[in-house]
Amino acid sequence: MEPLVDIRDVSFAYGAVRALTNVSLRLEPGTVGIVGNNGAGKSTLLRILLGLLHPTSGGGTVLGCDVRQSSSQLRGLVGYMPEAHAVVPLLKGVEFVALSGDLYGMPKRDARRRAHEVLNYVGLGELRYRRLDEYSTGNLQRLKLAAALVHDPKLLLLDEPTNGLDPAGRTAMLRTIEDLIAATGKSVILCTHLLADIERICKQVVVMHQGTVARAGTLDALRQHTASRYALRWQGPREPFVAALQAAQVSLDFPPEHAAVPSTEQHALAVVPTGWHTAQFFELAGRSEAVVVELRPEQEDLEQLFFRVTHGN
């Protein structure tokens, strides 16, 4: 199968400022999350993948199109949802999406028809005749998604699609993206600071750090697997249960404490000795008047992975 992205030794500099240094990346079709702190080079990479910027050196292909030459053809295959506000003032929702289609080179009537269709799909059916000035943040994000979908692209580049959304809006947006992937098999490259979004949607992850790709691959392969670690949450007094666990050779690790209010709930990370039986947790708890309400084998999440890679801890 043709790779989604295949670039080699790509560098880019804005004048004297180096934004990307020798980035080589090969991604399979599917869902990809890009994470990195501000200034790590994420948006520069996106713009190069989109053919908007030409790399200072290096090159490669996206969906089989050369990123240096066929940028117009490439953008016909890619739908881009920018992070910036970037709407045309005074237009109505459906006009904006149709404009996006026109700009992608669709015939005018198809663009118009298709605009209605994608607006319905992203859940803006009732708002499509309103002016953009009246749209809330959440609706603007959906509108921008619709504008990126209008020409039925093979690949979606989403830059911070859930930024500024409340939980309901965020869930709805993520559901739409998930549904889209499931129904059509489109590839998605998702760029966001909200790592939970990436964990939920993406199979592959690219961690960027200071203009280079620090790690790339499937999330499962990148995770550090540690057996015999459990996240433990219990209700009831803290000390007796902790003491009992420590007496049983379980070493405990506590998350940073909150300043003021003592809570009725405690939680800790427990590393258990070999030959440990999980029923012992409940047994010890019962003896120290605690009630275990959560027990999870600990797996490294994306946030921990990210800090391990970028901060070395």
Binding site: Y14, S72, H85, P89, Y104, P107, N120
Partner: protein, 304 residues
């Protein structure tokens, strides 16, 4: 099928309805930029207010032509009134300057309107990050610039060329024969020529100024300096020093002279001599404006 309505549908293209190739696609993009720009303007109430002012002048001309072709006034009165508006009573007199005068007067309203719409049509794209949106579609820099310029030219034509052509049609219709049109057919290319000069020059200058200054206040300061201050200064200089070339300091005068070049009619012989220089001034300044505009758009693409 009913159950399926909420799901994603791939784009089923109609026959011939695919994404255009590089050429066709870009052309569709340019057309969309033009349409959108005009639409944005027409959504502004201030635009309609200014258009109403502009069109009131057209109504006056319409009434005058109607009255003069239909009413049987004493011939002296009629001739006098016609001359005031630059038309002649004889249907086939090639010395008509009525259309030219009309377009010149319209262009004052055009100037005021352009001062207002520069920040909306071009400035806000730069200020609010809409330009990267345009360029992240299948549009190149040159297509964006072309689209905006065509839109501005179209806007200027709505004030000048279109009503002038309507007046020409009206005159011919009310004279009840086709003689007027036949005798004066040269008026049409002249109107179009003058309109093109007016449109291209003003659009280029406005787009360049708006791309750099973006906000309304500085655009208005520069625009009014260009078209009001330079005019007054040029007029005083030429009158007080007696050197006629000074009037060319006034961009309006330059545009008017270039327009008269199209119509082939000049008030004085002096004007005729100056007109070629005026045309050259317009061409040079417009080229500078175009280069400045291209530079500015390129800078945004890299930095934003």
């Amino acid at each position: 099928m009913g159950i399926d309505a909420a799901h994603y549908h791939p784009w089923k293209t109609n026959p011939g309805g695919k994404l255009g190739g590089p050429l066709l696609g870009a052309w569709r993009g340019v057309a969309a930029v033009v349409r959108t720009t005009l639409l944005q303007l027409m959504r502004r109430k201030a635009y309609w207010a200014i258009y109403a002012v502009g069109i009131s002048q057209f109504v006056v001309y319409w009434v005058v032509i109607y009255a003069l072709t239909q009413l049987q006034l004493p011939s002296g009165t009629q001739r006098g009134m016609l001359n005031t508006f630059g038309f002649s009573i004889e249907a086939a007199d090639p010395q008509d300057t009525g259309y030219l005068d009309f377009m010149e007067q319209q262009s004052y309203v055009v100037m005021i309107m352009l001062a207002f719409c520069g920040s909306l049509v071009v400035g806000s794209d730069f200020r609010e990050g809409t330009l990267p949106f345009y360029l992240s579609r299948r549009l190149e820099r040159r297509h964006y610039i072309l689209g905006k310029l065509i839109a501005l030219v179209g806007l200027i034509w709505l004030f000048t060329v279109l009503p002038a052509l309507i007046l020409f049609l009206e005159y011919g219709m009310f004279t009840t024969s086709t003689d007027y049109w036949r005798a004066n057919w040269r008026v049409v290319p002249s109107i179009l020529g003058y309109g093109t000069i007016l449109g291209v020059v003003l659009a280029l200058w406005l787009a360049a100024i708006s791309a750099y200054l973006q906000k309304l206040a500085p655009i208005a300061v520069v625009w009014s300096s260009l078209f009001v201050l330079l005019g007054r200064l040029g007029f005083m200089l030429s009158r007080e020093t007696g050197i006629r070339e000074w009037v060319l300091l006034d961009p309006w005068k330059d545009l008017r002279l270039a327009g008269r070049l199209c119509f082939g009619q000049f008030r004085t012989a002096g004007d005729a001599q100056l007109s070629a220089t005026a045309a050259w001034i317009l061409i040079c300044v417009s080229l500078v404006a175009l280069l400045a505009l291209i530079r500015r758009v390129r800078a945004v693409e890299v930095s934003a």
